[in-house]
């Protein structure tokens, strides 16, 4: 199947990839009930893609919040409304930066690892061995990683946003001297739970988590069983995820907001 696709031109190739990816999504969804008996494997994956990503997510969230606040302070001071900078940090992070940056980092940190791991399983015939042992690799390898990505992304995004607000507070209040009370009261007066937090943070990051996990598992699962093939599949995970995240972000923003 792969060999035939590679002979085609780039458009047919891309369309074929998207089609295969869609079929693969249905296969994973069908395998989820069967994967429930491997619950411990799902927990282990959640540890690996979620908890292990916390450090990079927290650091980046902190710095994104800090730099946003710093930039906004300089622009808003022209209009004498620096007290609104915390609000802008919160809204920009909840609606766009939080889900998108978390998803991009997640693709780079966890997506590549999933692709490389599954690709090497394929290359070293572990997947074939599972099939011989009557263990369904879709239920044991693919579905737990997909589920873990789906669960981990919203949680990571919440942590990212909280750290971004903390970073904005750190720079704005502790360093630049914005009043603590106005910082929070402007934020709480403007940020809406449903509009900003649920439809921004939660729904977007759920969708991005599903897309990144699907692309990562799919690329690993269909990687050519060579070292070059695995390397190429890992690269494609990052490229395809990034494009998919930003394109999906536009569509979701248009629908949700």
């Amino acid at each position: 199947m792969n060999a035939r696709i590679e002979r085609d031109n780039i458009v047919t190739q891309a369309l074929g990839q998207i089609g295969n990816c869609g079929v693969f999504l249905l296969q994973i969804l069908a395998a989820i009930p069967r994967s429930l008996r491997y619950g411990r494997e799902t927990v282990r994956q959640l540890w690996f893609v979620g908890a292990m990503s916390l450090i990079i997510i927290m650091t980046c969230g902190l710095f994104v919040g800090m730099v946003l606040e710093l930039q906004l302070y300089h622009v808003l001071s022209m209009f004498g409304s620096t007290s609104m900078s915390g609000t802008v940090v919160a809204i920009a992070t909840y609606r766009e930066l939080g889900p998108v940056v978390t998803a991009l980092l997640f693709a780079g940190r966890a997506g590549t690892a999933i692709t490389a791991e599954i690709g090497l399983m394929r290359a070293t015939d572990q997947i074939s061995a599972m099939e011989l042992m009557a263990v369904d690799p879709l239920a044991y390898v693919a579905a737990p990683r997909f589920l873990a990505g789906l669960v981990a992304m919203p949680l990571l995004c919440c942590v990212f946003c909280a750290l971004a607000v903390f970073g904005g507070h750190l720079v704005g209040v502790s360093w630049l001297g914005i009043d603590n009370g106005t910082f929070w009261s402007n934020m709480t007066a403007t940020v809406d739970v449903w509009q900003d937090i649920v439809s921004g943070v939660v729904w977007k990051s759920l969708a991005f988590g599903a897309v990144v996990a699907l692309i990562a598992v799919f690329q690993g699962y269909t990687a050519p069983p060579t070292s070059e093939g695995v390397a190429y599949a890992t690269t494609r995970t990052v490229v395809a995820s990034s494009i998919a995240i930003l394109a999906l972000d536009f569509v979701l923003t248009a629908f949700l907001m």
């Binding site: 916390l54 919440c158 929070w184 937090i197």
Partner: protein, 289 residues
């Protein structure tokens, strides 16, 4: 097996942390945090103009938040707004003659109700009423007062009327200041479209103290700053005769439209210079490039 257990514990911690972050975002940084917590009592206050005050806007005493606006309604049959303030039970000792004022936080900020303590021994009870209120001051009125203070708006010395025609007055309106050398010397009394000549007839009221303005002076519509309000600037001429009540100023320069300026800036590359008025301010971007 122990390794698996540590995964489970770590994953559990991760999930708890994630939900804790979500709960923090939802309750501490969003409008949920503004919902009234704890017991409160209601006080009425009536305002002639509430400006942009909204429900759930804060109520502050000495800048400290003590409650929020619960409801805003028009008093039936009267042109006053009835505002219900929900004030925290902890602050139950507000004197009955306290003054409720609608303030704006900053120039462009949201509005809130500020309460200044009175000296009465009686306290406002639940369902009571703050009789003394001060309404929201529209920015235009405040600016008008500000400019009027230094100018001729309600000066006892009186003023004299001068008219001027402009092909375009921009957003100039009655009450805009008239300035000479940057100092307010009067105000715009009216702006009317002239049906016959198809231009704008502006009547200026200039303070009697400034009766030494040459009658060939030019009137120009300027903007204070990039996004500021517009005013009429008078540039003195050299004639020995002075402007009198009812005179018309012949030399005028209309308001600069941002679009025109950009257009000029773009077209100026062709080299044709625009000397229509001869009184173009040096700030016009006649950049050579």
């Amino acid at each position: 097996m122990s390794q698996r257990k540590s995964y489970a514990v770590g994953t559990g911690l991760f999930i708890v942390l994630g939900f804790a972050a979500l709960a923090y975002l939802a309750t501490q940084t969003s409008s949920v945090a503004n919902r009234q917590q704890g017991a409160s009592y209601t006080v009425d206050a009536q305002f002639e103009n509430i400006g942009q005050l909204k429900e759930r806007a804060p109520v502050k005493i000495a800048g400290v938040r003590v409650g929020q606006v619960q409801a805003i309604a028009l008093e039936p049959g009267k042109s006053v707004a009835d505002v219900k303030l929900a004030i925290d039970k902890r602050y139950a000792d507000i004197p009955a003659d306290s003054v409720a004022t609608i303030f704006t936080s900053g120039l462009l900020g949201d509005q809130y109700v500020g309460i200044e303590y009175g000296h009465s021994k009686d306290h406002v009870a639940d369902g009571g009423k703050l009789a003394l209120t001060r309404s929201s001051e529209p920015l235009e009125e405040m600016l008008g007062k500000f400019f009027g203070a230094g100018g001729a708006a309600d000066n006892i010395g009186g003023s004299y009327m001068v008219t001027a025609r402009f092909s375009n007055v921009g957003s100039l309106s009655a009450g805009s200041p008239v300035k000479m050398a940057g100092v307010p010397i009067g105000q715009v009394l009216s702006v009317q479209a002239e049906p016959a000549k198809l231009d704008a007839l502006v009547t200026l009221a200039i303070d009697n103290r400034y009766n030494q303005i040459p009658d060939d002076s030019a009137a120009a519509v300027f903007t204070s700053g990039l996004i500021g309000s517009q005013y009429v600037a008078i540039q003195p001429g050299g004639s020995p005769d002075m402007l009198k009540n009812g005179d018309e100023m012949i030399l005028t320069q209309s308001a600069m439209q941002l679009e025109d300026l950009i257009g000029k800036f773009l077209v100026n590359g062709s080299g044709s210079s625009d000397g229509k008025q001869g009184a173009n301010p040096p700030t016009s971007p006649a950049g050579k490039h």
